[in-house]
């Protein structure tokens, strides 16, 4: 119907299928990375959907995903760190690529929104998304060294 929804469909189909494949196969280390990248792949899709439906109120979903997605990854990084020890899961190339896609989507949606409070909100979401994603990747690749009992 419009380009925004088409872009969201592509992002959802590609990112969702890749994340699903990554999280169901392979060693635990790779599955955790895929779980982390789910957030980064689907949050831009939510932003595109909000723009495509013409409903600024839907942006709250992207805000919460950008906040809580990294928290979910930290849960696994913390409570699975014994399984992850030895082979540090890191896919920095992929992480930066997905973060770049997120940044591009945020900038394009910002340009479509025009200056104002809504644009600042989008920028806050972008900062939370990319920052959270990088920190979660950092946590997976050895953020919890000395966690034993706690």
């Amino acid at each position: 119907m419009n380009g925004w929804i088409l872009a969201a469909t592509v992002e959802l189909g590609g990112g969702g299928a890749a994340a699903l494949w990554g999280v169901t196969t392979g060693p635990v280390a790779r599955r955790v990375v895929a779980q982390n990248l789910t957030t980064a792949a689907l949050c831009p899709a939510l932003l595109l959907l909000a723009q495509g439906y013409g409903r600024p109120a839907y942006v709250d979903l992207a805000l919460l995903l950008a906040l809580l997605g990294p928290v979910g990854t930290l849960v696994f990084a913390r409570l699975l760190h014994e399984d992850l020890e030895g082979r540090r899961p890191s896919a920095w190339g992929l992480t930066y690529a997905v973060a770049g896609v997120g940044a591009v989507v945020v900038i394009v949606v910002c340009a479509a929104t025009g200056p104002g409070r809504a644009m600042v909100k989008l920028l806050v979401i972008g900062a939370l998304l990319i920052g959270g994603n990088l920190i979660a990747s950092r946590a997976l690749s050895g953020g919890f060294q000395g966690v034993r009992g706690g």
Partner: protein
Amino acid sequence: MSRRLRLWLLAVGGAGLAALLAAACLDLPGFGGRAHPYGTRAVRASLARHTANTVASVNFDQRAYDTLGEMSILFAAVLGCVVLLRQARDEHRERPRPAEVARPVRRYALLVVPVALVCGLYVIAHGQLSPGGGFQGGVVAATALHLLYLGADYRALERVRPLGTFETVDALSVCAYLVLGLAGVLAATAFLANTLLPYGTFDTLSSGGTVPLLNAAVGIEVASAVVVLLANFLDQAVEIEEGNGG
């Protein structure tokens, strides 16, 4: 019953159920149809009472009694968890060793905890205007607190989380919901009827009569319930050990 027999029984029952479900699906009104009689009436009632978010209006005004039931299920489930996970006589507590978390992760946690709390409060407060409400915002606000466990260690979380207070607040907010309902009776209408307060200006924080108040009560209840719930699980997973201790 052997494992094989059980699988066969499951296959037969599953096939029967699948056939029935498929037949039922084919008889349902088509996906995306135009006729939604209840929806149309709910939207009209919500607009008449100046509530911008119809879903919140259904939850806290038109079907507020139902939400009272949901709240009591939530309360009972948390109560059950507290009883099941309490420290038994043959168990003791052991202080977990402090964790060493990488500095960027710790700083991220410290920065995001207040941001997530404010976002949770925003979702609760704007429940009757934009998507959101007490149920969602309460979970977000409670999850925010647990970033302190994930980004630092359990002792840091315990310092900022007075568990007794959260248990009391949980009970008090359930009472607040009931009292707001009874206030409707005292105002000579009906239990949980939205006739107590003026409906206010459409699309502002004070619109919708008692909807924002009930919404806030649910938000506080859900937030403290989740905190109490996770506290019990964390105690079990981190502190409580078997045996009476040395």
